[in-house]
Symmetry: C2
Subunit: 298 residues, 2 copies
C-alpha cells in the first residue's frame, strides 16, 4: 500500500489509473479507523480496481467548542487496518495541503445542511461538503463510499456530487454495529464500559419504532413520540433529536405515505459523547380488503 | 467543430483527450461572442491541444432586476465565430443540464466576492464561482482562459481553482478594445452610437490616471479623486465605483507601495447599460538621488 501526502501526486495517480481503464474507488475518512471504515474499504475493493482511502481530520466541520483537537488520531493503527482491508493508496494530506490558502472558499448544499443534525451543528455540513468536494477534486474517483451511519451526510454528499456535476457515484454502505447494537464510531472511545452498555438503547429504540411503523402507524408525531418514549428510559441521555423523516429529502409530512421509505434519526449526548444513529423503515401498504372491493362493485 | 450539449458526453470527451496526452483548454462564455472572446479561444488554441468553448447564460449570477431574460443570444453567430477562432468543441448545455436539481448548492469564495463590484451585485461572484466550478467539473480542463475585463472575476476564479484544489491553471488575457478604446462587451449592443462614442471616457480616464500614478502619486484617495474627476466630465454617467486597489487581493491601503501593482477599476451605468473596465499600473520606484547618496557618505 502506497502512502501519498500531496494533492498533485494523488491526482496524477488517479488520472494514470483511469487512463488505463481502471475504476477508482474512494473512501474519505477522518482516520482512527474501525470496522465501519474497513467495511467501506472492502466494499470499494470489490467494486473498483483501485481504492484510495483518505485520513484527514477536517477542521472546517468542527465548531470551536467541539472536539477537533482531541479527536483521536493513530496513523500506525490506520495504516495496518487499511492495508488489511485491501486499500491501494492511503492519502494523508496536511492541513496546509488541503487548505493552502486558508478557509475562505466554501460550499453549501442549502436547506438540507441546516435541518435536523444541522440545527445542532450549524457549520458541519457546509464543512463536510467543502472538504469532500476538495477531496473529490484531488482523488478524481469514479465511486465514493460513505457509511449510512452519517445518514444526513450521505444525502448532503449525494446532492454535492449531483448538483456540482462532479460525476462521482455515491455508494452508501450499511452501518456496522458492536455486538450490543451500538453503531461503530471513532467517538465510542470516549465512552466508559458502562456508557457503552447503556448506549445500546439507541439501536433498541430504533428497532422498536421500526416495528411500530410496520404495525401500520403512519402519523409522524405518534412515531416521534414513540421513539422519544423509548429513549427516555435511559436516564442521563440528552436527546438532541429523535425523529422520523422522509428518507429521500428529510421532509417531515404529517403522515407518511404508504410504501414510502422513512428514516428514523437520533442525535443524543451520553456523558460528554455525542452519538448518532439511524434506521430505514419501509412504510407498509395496507392490505386490500376483499370485502370492500366487492361492495364497491369493482 | 463538434457541438456537445450533455455534461457526461463532454466529460467523456475531455477524459479521452487527456488519456491521449492532450492538453485541454477551456473558454467559458455567456455567448454572443465578440473579438474579446475569440482572442481567448485563439490564445487557448495556441497553448493547448484541444479547445472547448462553452455558451451558457448562467441564471444564478443575475439578480432579479438584471438583464438575464434580455441578455443577447445568437447561436449561429457564436458557432461561426468560435469555428473561425479554432475552437474544437462548442459546449451548449441547457439550464436543466447545468442545474438538474435546482440551484440550492452554491460556492462562495468569501470576502473577495462581496467587495467593489460585489457590493453592487451581491450574488454575482457566488453565482460565477458556482457555475465555473460546475463547468470545470464537466469539462475537466487543464487550463481555462478568462478576459482581464472582468478583473475581479478573474481573481475569484483563481481563488476557486486554488482553494478547491481543482488544479485548473487560470490564464488571464488582455482586454480587447474598440478603436475608440471602449472595452468589448456583449452588453455594448445596448448602447446607441452616441453613447458608444461617449463611453470612451472610461478608457481615457484609466489611461490618464495611470499616468498620474506613474508621475509619482501613491496616495489612494488622491488617485481615486483624480479618476472620479476625469469620469465626471461625461454628463449622465452614473459612477458605481472608480477606485484604485492592490491588483493581487483588491486591498485598499492608504498609500500604495513603490513597485507594487495597482488595478484601476470602474463600474458605471450609461443610459441603461452597465459598463466595467480596468487597467493595471505598476507603481514607480522613486529614483535614487545621487546627491543624497553622496551626503550620506555611502
Amino acid at each position: 500500500m502506497k502512502v501519498i501526502r500531496s494533492v498533485s501526486e494523488l491526482r496524477q495517480y488517479s488520472i494514470e489509473q483511469q487512463s488505463n481503464g481502471r475504476v477508482v474507488g474512494f473512501v474519505p475518512t477522518m482516520g482512527y479507523l474501525h470496522e465501519g471504515h474497513t467495511s467501506l474499504i472492502t466494499r470499494a475493493s470489490v467494486e473498483c480496481d483501485v481504492v484510495i482511502t483518505s485520513l484527514f481530520v477536517n477542521p472546517t466541520q468542527f465548531a470551536p467548542h467541539e472536539d477537533f483537537d482531541s479527536y483521536p488520531r493513530d496513523f500506525e493503527h490506520d495504516y495496518n487496518l487499511a492495508k488489511k482491508a485491501d486499500c491501494d493508496v492511503l492519502f494523508v494530506p496536511s492541513r496546509e495541503e488541503m487548505y493552502p490558502y486558508g478557509e475562505s472558499t466554501s460550499l453549501s448544499v442549502g436547506d438540507l445542511a441546516y435541518k435536523i443534525e444541522g440545527k445542532f451543528r450549524p457549520h458541519f455540513f457546509d464543512g463536510v461538503a467543502t472538504v469532500v468536494a476538495k477531496l473529490f477534486n484531488a482523488a478524481l474517483p469514479n465511486k465514493a463510499f460513505f457509511g449510512q451511519k452519517d445518514y444526513q451526510q450521505s444525502l448532503v454528499v449525494k446532492s454535492l456530487s449531483r448538483d456540482m456535476l462532479m460525476g462521482v457515484e455515491i455508494v452508501v454502505c450499511p452501518i456496522v454495529r458492536e455486538t450490543n447494537g451500538l453503531a461503530m464510531s471513532s467517538r465510542n472511545k470516549y465512552l466508559t464500559d458502562e456508557q457503552k452498555d447503556n448506549a445500546k438503547i439507541l439501536f433498541k429504540s430504533l428497532v422498536a419504532t421500526k416495528e411500530y411503523i410496520e404495525s401500520g402507524i403512519r402519523n409522524r408525531k405518534k412515531i416521534n413520540a414513540y421513539l422519544h418514549d423509548m429513549l427516555r428510559r435511559l436516564d442521563g441521555l440528552k436527546i438532541d433529536y429523535a425523529i422520523a423523516a422522509d428518507s429521500n429529502n428529510l421532509d417531515e409530512p404529517n403522515d407518511f405515505e404508504e410504501g414510502s421509505q422513512v428514516v428514523l434519526l437520533i442525535g443524543a449526548v451520553l456523558g460528554k459523547t455525542r452519538l448518532i444513529d439511524n434506521l430505514l423503515v419501509k412504510v407498509p401498504i395496507e392490505k386490500f380488503n376483499e370485502d370492500d372491493r366487492f361492495e364497491e362493485g369493482l
